[in-house]
């Protein structure tokens, strides 16, 4: 099953099983079914609870929060996650504040879905990875779609926590297949550690034997796996990969047994340099494991640049499989 279909099925399942759930967003209704077709079929089956909206990102997220405040649950789709910037106030100053600023916890089950990332040639305003701008907002949880985490389990779990959440979805990942039953390919296997959606742990033969631990969000997993394959075959460097479903707050406890064995840790993400998610992850790891590390956590991220449209230019800016490969070689051999 492709990731897009997995997400689409999850939304169907949510609307089916939870009568509180509403889905809002631009162009999400059939027959169009959303810019990336993730909402296909929803409006036909659930016309009352699937609300195609005007081009109003702020009000889409605000209305989602209003629904949640009233006791419903809401999934808002931002057509291109870049436009979440227009909903920053509703997310940061309303939704995330409302769960705590009234002196008692206020449940707000809502998820803002943000298709992110480049490699589709959409250019500087439609290709970004804005995760880092939402890191560290009290009362706002950040998730990322991954080929290891079934959205059918993830979405209900996030809504049940009733903390406003942003779900980042890598646009290229949509067309890739989900990994199921613990198998990635001929070389790699995976399991899930930790509570809830948990952290996917990808390994070669033994999850406890490796030279380096790579941490990457779902959208970076494919490139990380490609790099890991080359590292093994060309350099005999064994990597384990951790893919957390929840980016923030980053749960350092769940994969701790793996991290404790790692002398070398690299964090890869598509976001551009400066104030990155990886820097936050590194900090959390340093706090817990500084003494056991051979060197500080190595950050791998895109260049400090806009994301160009032309393919050859975009490739220069964004993290590639080779970027990860080279960084790991350097970190391990250092």
């Amino acid at each position: 099953m492709r990731v897009a279909e997995n997400l689409n099925r999850a939304l169907h399942g949510l609307l089916e099983s939870d009568p509180r759930v509403h889905v809002l967003g631009e162009d999400i209704a059939d027959p169009y079914g959303g810019a990336f077709k993730i909402t296909k079929g929803l409006s036909t089956r659930f016309p009352d609870r699937v609300l195609p909206t005007p081009l109003s990102e702020g009000a889409i997220v605000g209305a989602a929060a209003g629904l949640a405040l009233g006791g419903e649950a809401a999934i808002a789709e931002i057509m291109f996650g870049d436009f979440a910037a227009l909903a920053f106030d509703q997310l940061v100053n309303f939704a995330a504040k409302s769960v705590s600023m009234y002196g008692r916890p206020v449940p707000l089950p809502m998820i803002v879905r943000c298709p992110m990332g480049g490699r589709r040639g959409y250019g500087p305003t439609h290709s970004q990875s804005l995760q880092k701008h939402f890191v560290g907002v009290p009362g706002l949880d950040l998730y990322e779609t991954s080929p290891f985490h079934d959205a059918g389990a993830l979405l209900p779990d996030v809504l049940a926590r009733a903390v406003p959440a942003v779900l980042f979805e890598d646009k290229v990942l949509y067309a890739q297949r989900m990994f199921e039953d613990g198998a990635v390919d001929d070389l790699f296997a995976f399991d899930l550690v930790g509570d809830g959606p948990g952290v996917a742990r990808v390994y070669v033969d033994d999850p406890e034997v490796f030279d380096c631990v790579l941490i990457a969000p779902g959208g970076m997993a494919e490139r990380a796996l490609g790099a890991m394959r080359r590292l093994l075959l060309e350099q005999e460097i064994v990597c384990a990969l951790l893919v957390p479903a929840r980016l923030h707050p980053f749960d350092v406890e769940a994969p701790l047994p793996t991290l404790e064995r790692a002398g070398v840790v690299c964090v890869a993400e598509e976001g551009t340099a400066g104030g990155t998610w990886g820097a936050e992850v590194a900090h959390r790891i340093h706090e817990r494991l500084w003494a056991g590390l051979r060197r500080p956590v190595r950050l791998i991220h895109s260049a400090d640049s806009v994301v160009p449209t032309a393919g050859h230019l975009e490739e220069r800016v964004l993290v590639q499989e080779s970027t990860i490969f080279e960084a790991v070689v350097e970190a391990v051999r250092d």
Binding site: L51, G58, G62, G66, L67, G70, G71, F94
Partner: protein, 317 residues
Amino acid sequence: MTADLEPAPTAGAAGADPLPRLGDDDLKLLLTIRHFERKLLDLFGQGALNGTTHTCLGQEYVPVALRTLLEPRDFVFSNHRGHGHYLARYEDPAGLLAEIMGREGAVCRGVGGSQHILRDRYLSTGVQGQSLPVAVGMAIHLRRREPGALACAYIGDGTWGEGAVYEALNMAALWRLPLLVVVEHNGVAQSTPTTAQMAGTIAGRAAAFGVEHHRVGTADVAAIRRELAPRVARVRAGDGPLVAEFATHRVGPHSKGDDTRPPGVIREAEEADWYRRYAAAHPEHHSRWDAVARDLVERVAADVAARPPSDWDAPCA
């Protein structure tokens, strides 16, 4: 949907008409809000309050008039100038003052303060325009689960500069949502006169969305209720949103001690003040309840000030 295209000047509005005798309840509530707000400015002056506050001096009659038109099942969204909105709904000066002073018994444990309050179906936030989209979501919910209930959002004239207002109005009109937008048009936003920050009129903007607009130009509580009752009933019945624009006056400062309006404008607001006009028209009724309200607020203030600080299971740095 009809739209009232009449411009909405503030000057002279709600200031010249005679004020008929009020019911005791309404008068007591109006005066309680007045004395509550004055007390706050007092306490600020003494350095007894932390942060800032925005009083609704001069505008008390707006939520008091709306009180009987709103029902417990309605969800009210308030703003930075919300003490009157809260007191008209709950008559709980102690809880509100405790919130503002950070004392035991605070509605939100002192976390929210003057402009961030949540109680049952009442919520205020301090970011202008932010509540309207949220009210849209709430209106979708209410229409689905409790037909006949409405979402009511108070905003000022200055807030019509925020894009969120238009995103929400558009949605509310498109989807014919039960949304009542109450505009307290006091002619000024912080220090900026409306004439320097609004092109066109609120009526014209509502008309652009096909949203019904009604201008209230009086402080006569009974007359306001008569005018608005059938219009609010139409909102409940599913005819779509209503913008009720009150031409009113801010008698006090924006927050505290920051009134930079020219003396003539301030004088005009003071002359239009319902408090002064009611005292002139009904001196005996006014003074009887004025004493009661003043006394009530004094007692509440003494009680709250003597309480221990509010507690919150806060995460610590």
